[in-house]
Amino acid sequence: MMTWRRPSRRAARSEGPWAWLAAGSVATSLALLALLLGLLAVRGLGHFWPAEVSLVALDDGRQLAGWAVKESPLPGGDGRERLYRTGNRDLDGAIWDWVDLDEIREVSHPSDLVVLERRRWSEFIGRLEAVETESGERISGESAWPALERRLTALEQHRASIERLRHQVIRPLVLRLEAGEASELERERLSAAQEQVREQQAALPKDILILETVDGRQLRQPLTEVTDALQPNAMGVGEKVVAWSQGVWRFLSEGPRAANTAGGVWPAIFGTVLMVVLMSIFVTPFGVLAAVYLNEVAHQGRLTHWVRIGVRNLAGVPSIVYGVFGLGVFVYGIGGHLDDWFFSSSLPSPTFGTGGLLWASLTLALLTLPVVIVATEEGLARIPESQREGALALGATRFEMLTRIVLPMAMPAMLTGVILAVARAAGEVAPLMLVGVAKLAPQVPVDGEFPFLHLDRKFMHLGYHIFDAAFHGGDVQAAMPLIYATALLLVLVILVLNLTAIFLRHHLRSRHGTLSK
């Protein structure tokens, strides 16, 4: 009987120390990448999880409620101290509290602690004493919390219907009125609708929440200021998951609050996507045009060779240099002249002579042009010459050969190039700081007003939002969870785009493998 044998590894000699350091550098790099992604994922997603609120009793009898954020050694001494986020900025003037670990007597998680998200003054952490209705009736004790939940749901519906009325009825009418086209009937409808809104606003529940902090201070909180109420310690896992997904959804769909340290990132998502879409609209035709010229039309000589190297190298030029070019040429140069010619009525306040959506997307288009050109050229070079000759031999002109055979075959390569360009553009921040990103742009650059897409407006951007919240915000510690979440979002978008490009490229290679048999 025969047995299969492997080459013996005993004979393998040791490769010596350097080989192990080399293997270790791969492992270290992977570990660093995993660490970064893990950090973003845990901190970014964890923020929305309704964590248990701790009630901390100190040796001196003081009590506080909040979430532990971090620990560090006491400055200049033994022992450690812990940072709690306690909220209640309106009562305490701050939302943080450092506590010496040695002074903590007891930490508990009573289930009656409530967390209220409010429009101002950060969150409230404490206990709900009672709900005082308009008529002065007090609902207290066990039934206070269900009453609060019911009222919040009703309030939510009220707000939604007011918002609908404003958006769908009043706004178009106002626009027609401003344009001087409104008929008498429409005027009447407008005033009726405005009356309706006033009525509904007046009908908003005027209940007052009677709140008490854990150290016994009372607070009267109008219900209309509250956006969300939770009892994290009383929630089951299922409820927490629901609350978590609602939190994520609000983060994605709402605008920022409190100088970008709270709220959501919807305008930034919108700005990023819009800018990137505009950029692709600019970069795709021009990139493909240049690649087709270089590969199909130009004389393949020394000059083309050097031009090709030049284009390739432009991909390595720092992005800030493109930003400088965008500022100097697009904003001050072209934009300045446009203002002189067409918008002189509004000078000296510039229209196009300042950073804006158009200039930002043009600058990024220029920045990513080499990426698209190189990828498209690679795709074109991969198409066998016999396909081109086949088309020509059938009596196709060069234009027909290009549009009917060559470009369709190069399509996946072009797509790869554009996706890579988009992935690069979505993560670039430095050039945007020069050509049009805004710290806070309450209006998104698309609305119902003519010309609907406002190319001259500034816009928000996920990447810049991170930079701004991290370095210009007042309370960085408070903004950290949101920065993590924003960073995670940005990284996810870019990873997905890159994975698509990698997949496409792989697919492309295997398909052309079958062609050149």
């Binding site: 000699r13 270790g24 240049a290 010229y293 030029v317 070019f325 993560g427 991290a470 890159n498």
Partner: protein, 407 residues
């Protein structure tokens, strides 16, 4: 049997005209686009030139005031200073470019110090030792690492890593010692293992099974570091640094920048170096091994000499990226225009200066033009470095083809 009719002449004429028009359009468009991209250098040069023959307007600028130490009010000896905007009554703005150039180079050098060993080690390992399956997965993974946006890395470096290192300086130092020695220890143990134990831990997958080992090293270091700190540095590394070496530890410093930017440029160096190393014809490696060399010896004696220029060009491209990276330096460096050699001080790079100051600078003014000069320097530097690297690489490709022809 003439089945297909000859097409009408009008149609023929139309197609011909359309073809000519399209070709002309593609040519014009192609040249236009390429010219537009290339216009960047021209634009910067044109904007910078007036700086040097500017008429009477305010501060005189010439090569001397930019690059040599100047005697400013309030300083006894001439110094280099970049203070473009002085407070009210603070005197003339100070435009010494040297601190910015210094900061740029310092950041880039520290980034390379971190990235080059990691990238080249990883490239050598994946080109010669790693199993093919793992390698096919590793390359796209590191490509993803390359795509990580600078602003995210900068945020993590500036707001997470910097405070952490601030608190755990001793642990950081211990890790620096412990990780390599832990790896060497792993190698030594592996060599002593019997074949039965070695089989589930093949060299080709070392990159993966070393990960838990690194974790062990980490825990070991965090346990050892207070002991070591007490033993060698009197219990407080920072105080020791200040007293014995006279070094002041800034929260955001060149080391932090180097680590963050090293992380950012490592994948691109790796990708190019790996291409160069794995492009060396297999016959050469096999030849060396047939003569009894180990893999590592054949890497050192055969592959590296052949692929040397390619590896060099990979490092050059990495340097180009490090010099121009903006967001990481901006967020992790503290942006203080100092000229000290200490890696524990902050710095301010040209790119970061441009990003911060250009929106506020008056177009056409001296400050504006100086920032454009900085951009021009960045452009020229990266463009030259990249071109050189590209030329080296294309030479190398030709050389490989020749070697394969011989083999």
């Amino acid at each position: 049997m003439q089945h297909t009719p000859s097409p009408p002449p009008v149609r023929r004429h139309f197609r011909q005209t359309r073809d000519r028009l399209a070709t002309a359009l593609i040519t014009a468009g192609g040249i236009g686009v390429i010219a537009a991209v290339m216009a960047i250098g021209v634009f910067l040069a044109v904007e910078v030139v007036p700086l040097f023959w500017s008429s009477s307007d305010a501060p005189r600028i010439n090569l001397e005031t930019l690059w040599l130490p100047q005697a400013y009010e309030g300083h006894e000896v001439p110094v280099h200073r970049w203070q473009p905007a002085m407070p009210e009554g603070g005197g003339e703005p100070r435009f010494g470019m040297l601190p910015l150039v210094w900061g740029t180079l310092e950041a880039a050098i520290w980034a390379l110090v971190i990235a080059v060993p990691l990238a080249l080690g990883a490239a050598a390992h994946s080109a010669l030792f790693m199993s093919r399956r793992l390698r096919a997965r590793l390359k796209p993974t590191l490509e993803l690492m390359e795509a990580m946006p600078g602003v995210v890395i900068g945020f993590v470096a500036g707001l997470v890593l910097a405070p952490w290192l601030d608190d755990h300086l001793a642990l950081g130092l211990t890790l620096l010692v412990m990780l390599p020695s832990g790896l060497l220890l792993a190698g030594g143990l592996w060599a002593r293992l019997g074949a039965r134990w070695r089989r589930p831990l093949p060299m080709g997958w070392a990159a993966l099974w070393l990960l838990p080992w690194l974790l062990v090293c980490w825990f070991l270091s965090s346990w050892l570091s207070p002991v070591l700190e007490a033993w060698w540095f009197g219990g407080d590394l920072r105080a020791w640094l200040e007293v014995s070496l006279g070094l002041d530890y800034a929260n955001r410093n060149a080391i932090i920048v180097g680590m963050a930017m090293g992380f950012a440029v490592m994948p691109s160096i790796y990708a190019l170096a790996e291409d160069a190393l794995s492009g060396v014809p297999k016959s050469l490696v096999e030849g060396a091994e047939a003569l009894g060399a180990t893999r590592w010896q054949s890497l050192w004696k055969v592959v590296l000499p052949a692929a040397g220029p390619g590896v060099l060009s990979a490092v050059m491209i990495g340097a180009g990226r490090a010099v121009g990276e903006t967001m990481i330096v901006l967020m992790a460096s503290g942006n203080t225009a100092l000229m000290t050699a200490s890696p524990l001080d902050g710095l301010r790079s040209m790119a970061a200066s441009i990003a911060i100051e250009l929106p506020e600078a008056v177009p056409g003014g001296t400050h504006y033009r100086l920032l454009l000069l900085a951009a021009l320097l960045l452009f020229v530097f990266t463009f030259c470095v990249n071109t050189l690297a590209e030329v080296v690489r294309s030479r190398l490709r030709r050389r490989y083809r020749r070697m394969e022809g011989l083999g």
